[in-house]
């Protein structure tokens, strides 16, 4: 292990542009094998990837496979470890700090008034979908504003993170958004029948009984 944490792989990785959503997982957490159960089947070259993350064996470059492939495996492994870590008390503390600083962005919905959001995955399996953002005020899920954040795998955060987050920190949950957009045309509300499609309008006209059309002329 290197002397300085500032030069650790974990610190370097989390500082990379596009990785702002990640928090730094404690090395003690990664060193505990229990926390890494079943991850070896998800990652190529698992042992070497783990050594990269923990900065072990920096001198054995000649034995390593191609650098880019190993780096990709390390990043994937770190992401999967990260998804577990942020469900722990320690992980939630770190993510709470990022949430309070607004590092995950704000809700794009106008009436949520820039409510801070949390990252959420739509699947716990890597490679299925990209990370999304969850707004606790409108309880909805959105595509992140910055495209560099959309490139992260959703499985690196997991489907349950926001919900575990607010179970642990119920005070952090904002009040639900009550404000709702009311469409108006020159100040008047729109009647639901105005939203019929052209086909529906045509159908209604066709079904009008002929007798009703004749009535006004009789009067």
């Amino acid at each position: 292990m290197t002397d300085s944490d500032e030069s650790s792989w974990i610190h370097w990785f989390c500082k990379q542009r596009g990785n702002e959503f990640f928090c730094e997982v404690d090395e003690e957490y990664i060193q505990d094998k229990f926390n890494l159960n079943f991850l070896d089947s998800n990652v190529k070259n698992y042992k070497c990837a783990l050594e990269v993350i923990l900065d072990l064996n920096p001198g054995s470059a000649s034995e390593d496979p191609a650098e880019p492939e190993l780096e990709a495996s390390a990043e994937k492994l770190y992401g999967l470890i990260h998804a577990r870590f942020i469900l722990t008390n320690r992980g939630i503390e770190l993510m709470l700090d990022k949430y309070n600083k607004g590092e995950f962005g704000t809700c794009p919905r106008a009436f949520c008034h820039s409510q801070p959001v949390l990252p959420i995955g739509l699947s716990d399996n890597p490679g299925e979908d990209m990370v999304r953002i969850y707004c606790p005020k409108c309880n909805d899920v959105y595509i992140p504003k910055a495209s560099r954040h959309s490139n992260l795998d959703g499985a690196f955060f997991g489907t349950g993170f926001p919900h575990m987050f607010f179970m642990e920190k119920p005070d952090a949950r904002p009040k639900r958004a009550k404000q709702k957009f009311v469409p108006r045309l020159y100040g008047f509300k729109i009647h639901p029948t105005a939203y019929r499609t052209a086909a529906e309008i045509q159908k209604d006209v066709t079904m009008t009984p002929v007798g009703e059309i004749d009535s006004p002329s009789h009067i």
Partner: protein, 171 residues
């Protein structure tokens, strides 16, 4: 429906009236001549600003009160037949962005103001599928009054033939 020329003239007259009531010394002749031409000439350019956060300050036409007047004329123009056709073209091209809600599957959106009064809030985008308003992705500073709160409903009322499932998210 009246021709767009008549509508434009009416809009300018209306703007002139408000100019008088708000004590802005803009002669009606000046408003009619300059803004009528400007509205048509700069139509595409001003809408591109929605997708780009920087307004070119070197353009004297978009500085001070001219910006406000143009916005007022613009809000009326996009309700005219000609304006709606142009906005439909931009809507179909996705020029106004897509809905950020994952349930809407990147539905095309329309610009909308939260108020018809100038200076209240910036423009938002309206998703016809979830019927919510969102902040545009690009941090534009265009005033919402340039479009007004009624525009999306005028748009869909005047273009009911958007019946294709891809065109009409309400089906």
């Amino acid at each position: 429906m009246s021709s767009s020329t008549t509508t434009a003239a009416g809009s300018i007259g209306s703007s002139g009236s408000r100019a008088t009531s708000s004590s802005c010394r803009v002669p009606t002749d000046y408003v009619q001549d300059t803004f009528n031409q400007m509205g048509l000439e700069y139509f595409s350019e001003i809408l591109d600003v929605i997708l780009k956060p920087v307004i070119d300050s070197s353009s004297g036409l978009l500085y001070g009160d001219e910006k406000k007047w143009y916005g007022m004329i613009h809000a009326r123009y996009i309700r005219s037949e000609r304006g709606l056709i142009a906005m439909h073209r931009k809507y179909m091209r996705g020029d106004f962005g897509s809905c950020p809600n994952i349930s809407c599957d990147r539905q095309n959106t329309l610009p909308v103001g939260l108020s018809a009064v100038w200076g209240k809030s910036t423009v938002k985008i309206h998703c016809p599928r979830c019927k919510s308003n969102f902040h545009p992705k690009s941090d534009t500073q265009l005033d919402g009054a340039m479009f007004g709160p009624s525009f999306p409903d005028i748009f869909f009322s005047m273009l009911p033939n958007l019946t294709s499932p891809l065109d009409d998210p309400r089906t």
